[in-house]
């Protein structure tokens, strides 16, 4: 998905490989090269972050944080032999997971079960800034539902689903990125799909009972 205001980028940049664009940006300070890289990959990276967080403001912050790291660390950390997008994605993934874990740590202080209401702490929490709340984005109903269900998946299953969907990452790379074996990554995907199927079935049942 290209940016709306990308018309000023010459056509030749579109034909260049990521590696060439990165080289132009690093060695010749070519801003157009950087803008072309953004054009190519911003939507995938943003979608991944958003689908994991499901809050527009937080997704914006994490996206910005990701690219701040990309810009500042490109000279030191990035090795031009590797894929640039894989490197950026790793940064985006780490920033996203950091945020999710910080949020978890924040609420984990009291995950007590309430006997009266038969709910635990998480269920009693307001929905603000938690997965499942996709604010300020106009999406069609089926997409919203799907995003909501994906938001309800355990973090590790959600990660595998989104990494595969948005980055078309092989399971071997997903396993490396998430620090598990390939079988675990495959297993997480399987459970994610099974859980999603259950959620859709339950939703379908509810809808049928309402009718």
């Amino acid at each position: 998905m290209r940016l709306n205001n990308s018309d000023h980028i010459p056509h030749r940049y579109e034909q260049m490989k990521d590696r060439e664009l990165v080289h132009l940006f690093r060695k010749k300070d070519d801003q157009l090269a950087f803008q072309e890289l953004m054009n190519r990959h911003q939507a995938k990276i943003y979608s991944y972050i958003y689908s994991m967080i499901q809050n527009r403001e937080t997704a914006n912050d994490i996206f910005q944080e990701t690219f701040t790291k990309v810009i500042t660390k490109m000279d030191d950390t990035y090795n031009e032999q590797g894929k640039w997008i894989a490197w950026v994605m790793r940064i985006a993934h780490n920033a996203t997971i950091d945020h999710i874990r910080k949020q978890k740590r924040f609420v984990d202080v009291s995950s007590s079960y309430d006997e009266e209401s038969k709910t635990d702490f998480y269920e009693r929490l307001p929905d603000e800034d938690t997965p499942g709340q996709h604010d300020q984005l106009e999406l069609n109903e089926s997409t919203s539902r799907l995003l909501k269900h994906i938001g309800n998946l355990p973090e590790e299953q959600r990660t595998v689903v989104m990494l595969r969907h948005y980055y078309e990452m092989p399971f071997k790379e997903i396993a490396e990125l998430t620090d598990v074996s390939i079988n675990t990554a495959l297993g997480r995907m399987r459970y994610a799909l099974i859980n999603l199927r259950k959620m859709f079935d339950e939703e379908h049942e509810k809808e049928s009972s309402n009718i």
């Binding site: 998905m1 940016l3 709306n4 205001n5 940006f25 300070d29 801003q31 950087f34 803008q35 953004m38 911003q42 939507a43 995938k44 990276i45 943003y46 979608s47 958003y50 689908s51 914006n60 996206f63 910005q64 690219f67 701040t68 810009i71 500042t72 000279d75 984005l137 999406l139 089926s142 997409t143 799907l146 995003l147 994906i150 689903v161 595969r164 969907h165 948005y166 092989p170 399971f171 079988n183 495959l186 297993g187 995907m189 399987r190 799909l193 099974i194 999603l196 199927r197 859709f200």
Partner: protein, 193 residues
């Protein structure tokens, strides 16, 4: 072939070797439950496949691009820093050398001190007078680090007369071979009291 739970995922996401794929498809034809599971997983997977890409807000992208251009400006500065350091070093060396030259010129033209003779040297050298030159001051002899004898507080005329008096009191060496071992070290040491 035994079926692993993850085989259906490997098959769906095309992560099987061709031989494994053939074998798995053979099993699918035989095992109806496996086929049902694979198809239901495929159904959900296809739904996920319809998730749209969401573009980041323009303002965020613009601010990132600005950040990138600012970073390049600052990195240019960093890259040209060695040049700045070299220029600064060169300038400071120049200033220091200039200052030293001016100082030495001033000291050369300074007539307030006189130096004569030496212990260990036959040459009389004029150097700085650290104590200044005031006519009223008492005459104070002092020896610098090169063992050169100086008189402080002497005006040039007085110092000339003092020098002459001093020379008159010196005894020339008449037989140099007699004290050859001291020849290099002692000059102008004898005097008539």
């Amino acid at each position: 072939m035994s079926i692993k739970k993850t085989d259906s995922i490997s098959y769906l996401f095309k992560e099987m070797d061709p031989s494994e794929k053939v074998e798995f498809e053979r099993l699918l034809r035989k095992n109806e439950n496996l086929l049902i599971e694979v198809e239901s997983l495929r159904n959900i997977s296809n739904r996920i496949g319809h998730l749209p890409e969401i573009s980041a807000p323009d303002c965020v992208i613009q601010s990132i691009c600005e950040q990138a251009s600012e970073k390049n400006k600052s990195s240019k500065l960093v890259r040209s820093k060695p040049f700045y350091f070299a220029t600064a070093a060169l300038l400071s060396i120049g200033f220091m050398a200039g200052a030293l030259l001016i100082e030495s010129d001033e000291s050369a033209s300074n007539t307030g001190s006189a130096s004569v003779g030496s212990v260990g040297s036959t040459q009389a050298t004029s150097t700085n007078n650290p104590a200044g030159t005031t006519a009223d001051r008492e005459i104070t002899p002092w020896v610098d680090e090169n063992n050169i004898l100086h008189y402080t507080g002497v005006e040039s005329e007085r110092s000339d007369s003092l020098l002459e008096n001093s020379y008159r009191r010196l005894t020339p060496v008449t037989n140099p071979s007699q004290n050859s071992s001291y020849q290099r070290n002692l000059h102008f040491t004898g005097s008539r009291q």
